[in-house]
């Protein structure tokens, strides 16, 4: 069973407390920050209230608008994985290798990165982290948060700044100095997907702060907590996984709805609730498949288009341009 964006499971005093603190230091009224989300300051202080992904995203959207500085996404992100709210984050903070921490980041994504679902890709030389963000420009704030979260997290684990490379689907923003200061200088804009990469040999190094016992216990607790709350997989993630498994077949709305044991109308309605639609989700999965085939398996354009059952290479080129906003050549350069 998967959970949906209006399912309340995130303790309101976890990630939101960072934003409340930031609002205090930047003199933003908390009711402006929380407006339209159905959350009140008393709820957060009660320590009992659970909120949904939708509500958290609403507050983040408010934050983007009501803070005058353009560094809030970065400041929020930086603190979101380095503050040990829950066992899931603890199991990551005390993991013995970064590789282990990242696999837990994926396992517990619903509670450690509830605003954007992360994915991992291992190529020969690099490890790449990307997100199910549909390449929407509206998600730029969330992407900035997610990337600075991982960056600050890795800096805390290794006690030094790592040589991350960042790629963005959008063009260079006019507040580029925030990217330089908070992420680093290895930035590339107008790339096919939003992604950050690290040389692979680094991720197996033993970490200085590792505590295998504490990490193992936190991990067990977090697993129990996750199955108690039923948050193994979000609705969009399970849809994405179904697409990725069946990407070589001709995926249709009706079959997909059958697979998830619901009517096509219900599936459409659910997608609408998540502010997306069937084709957008399918295109995202195809784009991710194409990127994986190219980056990990070194496929040529023709091979990728064959794999995706797009018989004509020209059609594939056109489709790729639609998915990513880039030509295939530009994406591979």
């Amino acid at each position: 069973m998967s959970f949906e964006c209006d399912y309340s499971y995130i303790p309101a005093h976890h990630q939101l407390s960072i934003l409340i603190d930031l609002a205090v230091s930047h003199e933003v009224e908390h009711h402006v920050l929380l407006s339209g989300s159905g959350i009140f300051l008393e709820d957060i202080f009660s320590g009992q209230k659970l909120i949904s992904q939708q509500q958290l995203q609403q507050v983040l959207t408010n934050a983007e608008q009501c803070f005058r500085n353009q560094d809030i996404s970065f400041l929020f992100g930086q603190r979101s994985l380095t503050t040990p709210f829950n066992d899931a984050i603890k199991s990551m903070l005390y993991a013995s290798t970064f590789d282990e921490a990242l696999s837990r980041y994926l396992t517990f994504s619903a509670s450690v990165s509830p605003w954007l679902c992360p994915r991992l890709m291992y190529s020969q030389s690099h490890i790449h982290i990307y997100w199910l963000d549909e390449n929407k420009l509206e998600n730029r704030f969330l992407i900035e948060s997610a990337m600075s979260a991982i960056q600050a997290f890795s800096r805390q684990l290794y006690q030094t700044k790592l040589a991350w490379k960042f790629e963005f689907n959008f063009s260079e923003p006019d507040y580029i100095e925030q990217y330089w200061t908070h992420l680093g200088s290895a930035l590339e804009f107008n790339r096919p997907i939003n992604m950050m990469s690290l040389p692979r040999d680094l991720v197996h190094e033993k970490l200085p702060n590792a505590s295998s016992t504490l990490a193992a216990i936190s991990y067990q607790h977090a697993l129990k907590e996750m199955s108690a709350q039923n948050i193994q997989q979000s609705f969009l993630l399970s849809l994405h996984q179904y697409f990725m498994q069946n990407i070589q077949n001709n995926i249709q709305l009706e079959q997909t709805a059958d697979y998830f044991q619901m009517s096509s109308a219900t599936l459409k309605r659910k997608l609408k609730k998540h502010q997306t639609h069937f084709q957008a989700q399918l295109d995202q999965s195809r784009l991710h498949t194409a990127i994986i085939l190219y980056r990990v398996h070194g496929f040529k354009t023709e091979q990728i288009s064959q794999y995706l059952q797009i018989n004509d290479a020209t059609n594939f080129r056109r489709a790729f341009k639609r998915w990513s906003g880039l030509t295939v050549q530009a994406a591979q350069s």
């Binding site: 230091s25 930047h26 500085n69 970065f74 030094t160 507040y175 100095e177 925030q178 330089w180 190094e205």
Partner: protein, 308 residues
């Protein structure tokens, strides 16, 4: 309730009493005009002006700190408000011809109000001059409150970029020596981790004041992003800018910052890099070159990772 409303409650009560007293007298002695007699243009003009004066009074109380300037403006506006109120009343109620006091009540407060208001504006002007002197290093030429950083008392990167753009354009027409310094706090992340983010913010505010005190009046200091500050130095050769940057580094190193609660001394260290404006065509080019330079400086100072 606005901050200083309580302070002005008696004068406000006086105005309200005077207004209602005059209304009562008008109703008692006068005769209300019929609907057909109403002159809409006058009602809109005079009534509207009354409402607007009321709005001004509200915002003056809400936004200005207490003091001489605020008092003069406030009392001036109160008199003007009363005058406008009397003026509006006779649009609705006609007084018998032989009554003279209404004309007096209408005309006398107006010049008094204008006098007080003008004195207030004059003192405001003097106050602005004093503030401008204080703000000189943080803003050049024009003020835009939207471009101020929320954390430090400085303008933000956006403001700096507009100023830099203007400086580069001017430089194309009449070349002059102008330099930019970029300053980065060393190991600021560690300070945030050990002492907390509030302490980090407090350090940024402390540092912004320190740098500002160590610049010349014509220099512009802005917060770039995070723990980085940026300065525009007119009429300054690169060599001179390098000297100033080194001086800033030394100044921060020997300055003492004490943690707010525990009085623990937190050492501060900054890295700087600078460049001459004349070399670049656009602000974007200059800033990204400066960023690259800073990266090299930081690499030089960063602890080397040793793998055994």
């Amino acid at each position: 309730m606005p901050k200083y409303f309580a302070y002005y409650r008696w004068p406000l009560l006086c105005v309200a009493t005077a207004c209602s007293l005059s209304l009562w007298l008008f109703i008692l002695l006068g005769q209300s005009k019929s609907f057909a007699e109403w002159n809409w243009v006058d009602i809109l003009g005079e009534g509207g002006a009354t409402v607007f004066i009321g709005i001004w009074i509200f915002f003056i109380i809400k936004s200005r700190p207490l003091g001489r300037v605020t008092n003069y403006i406030f009392y001036g506006l109160c008199f003007i408000f009363f005058h406008m109120w009397m003026d509006s009343l006779d649009e609705f109620i006609r007084l018998p011809k032989e009554i003279m006091w209404d004309a007096w009540l209408e005309s006398i407060p107006f010049p008094i109000g204008l006098c007080l208001f003008t004195i207030g504006i004059y003192f405001w002007h003097q106050e602005e001059l004093a503030i401008s002197k204080h703000m000189q290093k943080r803003e050049r030429i024009y003020r835009d409150h939207r471009l101020f950083d929320a954390l430090t008392p400085l303008a933000d990167a956006h403001y700096f970029k507009t100023q830099l753009k203007a400086a580069i354009e001017q430089n194309l027409h009449e070349p002059s020596d102008m330099s930019v310094i970029l300053l980065d706090m060393h190991n600021f992340n560690q300070i945030n981790q050990t002492h907390g983010f509030d302490e980090g913010t407090s350090i940024l505010q402390h540092v912004s004041q320190l740098i500002s005190l160590n610049l010349r009046p014509q220099d512009l200091l802005c917060r770039f992003a995070g723990d980085r500050f940026i300065m525009l130095l007119p009429e300054t050769k690169l060599q001179q800018a390098e000297k100033m940057a080194a001086q800033l580094e030394r100044m921060l190193m020997v300055s003492a910052y004490y943690q707010r609660d525990l009085s623990v001394h937190i050492p501060l260290k900054a890295l700087t890099t600078c460049c001459s404006v004349g070399q670049y065509q656009t602000a974007q080019q200059l800033l990204s070159a400066l960023n690259q330079q800073l990266l090299q400086v930081k690499q030089y100072y960063s602890p080397k990772r040793v793998t055994v």
